[in-house]
């Protein structure tokens, strides 16, 4: 590969600029502990402790996935799939296919774009988020009603649910609180910047994201619990951070404010079911993720089996996939 000088020079400059943005670990730790909350060590539950903590109830995990065919609006087709699975093996799944090529789906889309004053193409993204969130909540709800688990682990933060399906979310929240079902939203790539904001950190007006601060900040098995009266994201949620494996990137966890006092118990349990050498995500969530996801190969097989060649070629085939190089 040939790189002309300007590109490499620019990259060097960016490197230098970003290096300046890296804060000293000790300073951040010290400030966090002084101003926002406390660092704690998590401990593995023994099997007995785990049993006592669960009180004979199961643990559930919820995940959703979306697969695309096609790229250019409106020649797209999405397959939504949401799955909730309990440790007892109970599974609830919802699947839906969506394509703006179909009149009723198209109408759904245009209604939204008119209402929000958006392009159709942008509206697709919103529809996608809404549907995914709705399906995830639907399977979570069914599981909660039927199985009343000790804990429901969501793949992703709570903000998503509140934003895209406020009514369903509030119904879920109410039921979960009523039945004392712990709920936790696990955010692998913490895109929040609450910590930086609270510490008044900014870089020439640019917010400093939590993930920047958290990388390598904690030891494996350490967590940062924000003081209960402080909130770093939304008043309704309580957020904690933990490094559950040797992977240096910490993970963020959303709890209901009302369940904040159970956070350390939940974190201990999540720490227990997270492989020490993995990416820091509890195994159960990975398992549900793997089950919910439709692999590219499965997707190809499905489409080949149920769409005629002509339909596929006329409506969905992207010419760039035919590139040889």
């Amino acid at each position: 590969m040939l790189l002309s000088n300007p590109v490499s020079d620019e990259l060097k400059a960016i490197n230098l600029a970003l290096r300046k943005r890296i804060y000293a670990k000790e300073e951040i730790r010290e400030r966090l502990a002084r101003e926002l909350g406390r660092f704690c060590r998590l401990s593995h539950f023994s099997q007995q402790e785990a049993r006592e903590w669960a009180g004979g109830r199961e643990v559930a995990a919820v995940d959703g996935s979306v697969n695309y065919l096609g790229a250019l609006f409106p020649y797209i087709l999405c397959i939504f799939r949401a799955l909730a699975r309990t440790t007892g093996g109970d599974r609830t799944a919802v699947t839906e296919v969506f394509s703006p090529l179909l009149p009723h789906h198209y109408r759904e889309l245009t209604d939204l774009s008119r209402e929000q004053d958006l392009d159709n193409e942008l509206a697709v993204n919103i529809v996608k988020e809404r549907k995914l969130v709705a399906f995830e909540l639907q399977v979570a709800m069914e599981t909660v009603v039927r199985k009343s688990p000790r804990l429901v682990i969501f793949d992703g933060g709570f903000v998503r649910y509140e934003r895209h399906a406020p009514e369903a979310w509030s119904r879920y929240r109410q039921l979960a609180l009523e039945k004392e079902i712990f709920s936790v939203g696990l955010i692998e790539e913490a895109g929040s910047f609450g910590l930086g904001r609270e510490l008044n950190l900014a870089h020439y007006g640019n917010p400093v994201f939590d993930r920047e601060l958290l990388l390598g900040l904690m030891e494996p098995g350490e967590c940062f619990l924000v003081d209960f009266e402080r909130y770093v994201k939304k008043p309704a949620f309580y957020t904690a951070f933990a490094r559950l494996s040797r992977n240096p990137q910490a993970v963020a966890f959303d709890f209901f404010k009302e369940q904040a006092r159970y956070a350390s118990g939940v974190l201990n349990y999540l720490y227990t079911i997270t492989p020490a050498g993995g990416r820091g995500v509890p195994l159960l969530l990975d398992i549900v993720d793997a089950e919910a996801r439709i692999s590219d190969r499965e997707m190809d097989l499905l489409l080949e089996a149920y769409l005629d060649v002509e339909v596929r070629e006329r409506f969905f085939a992207a010419n760039r996939l035919r590139r040889d190089l």
């Binding site: 539950f45 023994s46 199961e58 643990v59 309990t86 000790r150 079911i273 195994l283």
Partner: protein
């Protein structure tokens, strides 16, 4: 269970969440289009996608994680998937439909594949591996026809469908090879074959250089109905005692081979034998000729007639004979030393009794449909066997040929028979040398089928066995084999696929693949428990312990009577102890044994003012 992945007209994959596959089990694929083919599992796998192989990309799933999930009711281990590679039995021309359901067969659906003849009509060699779950469905005539033997030596009941060898088909596909390294169960398998031959009253000749072919002792722990009580079905002969060579019937080549037992004859010696030996020579006439020729060559005067003529007509006759011999052979047999060598060797064989008895007794046994077991020193046995095989084979051949030619007066009937030998590569070694044994074995291998003479050749080293002979072994029992050269030969000479040959080095003792033109495919078999026991089955190390324990016990019994045993005036006891033990044992030896007993904790040393003395240890456990 269902068919997954890519299938071919020969192979397919089967997956199951619930059930582990058993190697070699036969399953039915419900694919109507291909008439529900039967498949055999040739490789099995289990995996758990959530507990993957730990590599640089997949971390280890710690035990605490699994325990933590188990505590809330999730057993990740149960996510295990089982996968089998299976081979279609028989031939289909299109691939099996992917997604077809797969199920375990009922016995009636696979009976044709597994059992060709009833136990009454075939040799019951063992059970077919992978058929364990069919045992409850077996019809009465196939149930409890054999016992199995666990690796520990204990007898268990029949688990699986019996493998019954259709020996009558050896008419089409003759000869059996039994291959396997030491400890592979090859000798065990050979014994099973011999027992079955005796049960079916198929006459045979078995060579027994190790003196282990005895069928009088039941296998320890064998239920009574399985014991083979067959004293009248076999006879044991020892070369030089009750079986030998009819010297008059020897060909010169056979005589050379016999004389070459132990060490091959030199070219000069062999040449001399060929020169001197004549058909129908008796031992006496041949050995006289040799001896007289030696005399004549060593003392030429003996050949001369005294001038004026001898008085003694006997002397004159002798001189005439010497002259005659030296004129006929003198220049063609080398020196007297060569002849003397022949004479020594001939004497040695005669001393061993080789020429005192003929083969009549063996022939009688074969005629009586018995198994003739031939024992003798290894080297002699080999040379002798070549002679014996040739003789019996020719008798059988002459009879059959006469019948075919529809002679008016056919030869006397001689039955078909089986020749059984272990270490067969000694008889027909691959390579250029053509000893008499190899010639006859090869002849029978190639033509024996026509005459109903079959070979059962066992060997640890199939790679050393003559190629022609190997190729004629239409059925092969292959036990554990480790050497690459032998495995390569097995690959060439059987239909064993890479999965099976890959398993050869790891087969348990007593497990074998039977690759046979008769069954058409290789079948994994667990050889049955023998009905009788080999006299050599005791582990020599067990024997060592047992024998020395017997000696120790005796010593302990004797010494107990002399306790407390003072070391300071032990001489007082010495004679009495020696007498009771019936052995000359020195004072020091006694002390040494006492020290050992004390070290084992059976005696105790007590200090007295006079010195040490041994006393019985309190609560010592007496064996």
């Amino acid at each position: 269970m269902q068919v997954v992945g890519v299938t071919t007209q020969q192979e397919l994959y089967i997956a199951s969440r619930e059930r582990k596959f058993v190697i070699n089990e036969i399953l039915v694929v419900e694919d109507q289009g291909r008439h529900n083919p039967r498949v055999e599992v040739v490789a099995t796998q289990s995996f758990n996608r959530y507990i993957p192989l730990t590599t640089e990309r997949n971390g280890l799933v710690d035990e605490k994680v699994l325990a933590g999930l188990q505590a809330v009711g999730y057993n990740v281990q149960e996510e295990e998937l089982n996968l089998a590679r299976a081979r279609v039995i028989g031939e289909i021309s299109t691939p099996v439909v992917v997604g077809s359901k797969v199920r375990r067969p009922a016995f009636s659906e696979v009976s044709q594949l597994l059992v060709r003849v009833s136990p009454a009509e075939g040799l019951v060699l063992g059970t077919i591996r992978g058929t364990e779950n069919l045992v409850d469905e077996l019809p009465e005539d196939l149930a409890d026809v054999l016992c199995l033997c666990s690796p520990g030596g204990s007898v268990t009941s029949q688990e699986g469908v019996p493998f019954i060898f259709d020996y009558r088909s050896m008419d089409q596909y003759p000869h059996i090879g039994v291959f396997g390294g030491s400890g592979s169960g090859k000798s065990f398998g050979l014994r099973v074959l011999l027992e079955e031959l005796m049960i079916k009253k198929i006459p045979g000749i078995a060579l027994d250089p190790h003196y282990e072919m005895d069928f009088s002792v039941p296998f320890p722990g064998l239920p009574g109905q399985h014991y083979l009580d067959c004293p009248d079905r076999y006879r044991v002969f020892t070369v030089g005692v009750d079986v030998g060579v009819n010297f008059e019937e020897l060909t010169s080549a056979e005589l050379v081979a016999l004389l070459g037992t132990g060490e091959p004859l030199s070219e000069a010696m062999a040449g001399a034998v060929f020169t001197i030996h004549k058909r129908k020579d008796s031992l006496q006439s041949f050995s006289d000729n040799v001896k007289d020729l030696i005399n004549a060559m060593e003392d030429p005067r003996l050949t001369r007639t005294e001038p004026g003529g001898r008085r003694d007509p006997l002397e004159a006759q002798k001189a005439e004979r010497y002259r005659d011999l030296s004129e006929r052979y003198g220049t063609r047999v080398g020196g007297a030393g060569t002849l003397r060598g022949i004479s020594w060797r001939l004497n040695a064989l005669a001393e061993q009794g080789l020429f005192t008895a003929g083969t009549a007794a063996v022939e009688q046994a074969v005629l009586g449909r018995k198994l003739a077991i031939i024992r003798g020193p290894v080297r002699l046995l080999q040379t002798y066997a070549a002679y014996l095989f040739r003789r019996l084979y020719h008798q059988r051949r002459n009879y059959r040929d006469a019948v075919k030619r529809q002679d008016q007066a056919p030869e006397e009937w001689f039955p078909p028979f089986v020749i059984i030998t272990d270490e067969a590569h000694n008889f027909a070694l691959r390579g250029d040398r053509e000893p008499a044994s190899k010639r006859i074995i090869r002849e029978i291998a190639q033509e024996g089928r026509k005459y109903g003479v079959n070979l059962i050749l066992a060997s640890q080293r199939p790679a050393l066995l003559d190629d022609t002979v190997n190729a004629q072994l239409n059925t092969k029992l292959i036990f554990r084999t480790v050497r690459a050269a032998d495995i390569a030969v097995i690959k060439d000479e059987t239909d064993l696929g890479p999965e099976e040959t890959g398993r050869l080095p790891y087969l348990n003792s007593g497990n074998a693949f039977i690759s046979s033109a008769i069954t058409g495919r290789s079948i994994p078999v667990r050889i049955r428990c023998t009905r009788t026991a080999s006299p050599h089955s005791q582990n020599p190390f067990d024997e060592l312990v047992e024998q020395s324990r017997a000696g120790d016990d005796k010593f302990r019994r004797v010494i107990k009577e002399h306790l407390p045993f003072p070391t300071f005036n032990a001489e007082l006891h010495l004679t009495a102890i020696q007498e009771k033990l019936g052995a000359k044992i020195s004072f020091n030896e006694i002390l040494e044994k006492m020290r050992m007993l004390a070290a084992e904790g059976l005696l105790q040393v007590e200090k007295t003012p006079f010195g040490e003395q041994y006393i019985l240890k309190e609560k010592s456990d007496e064996h």
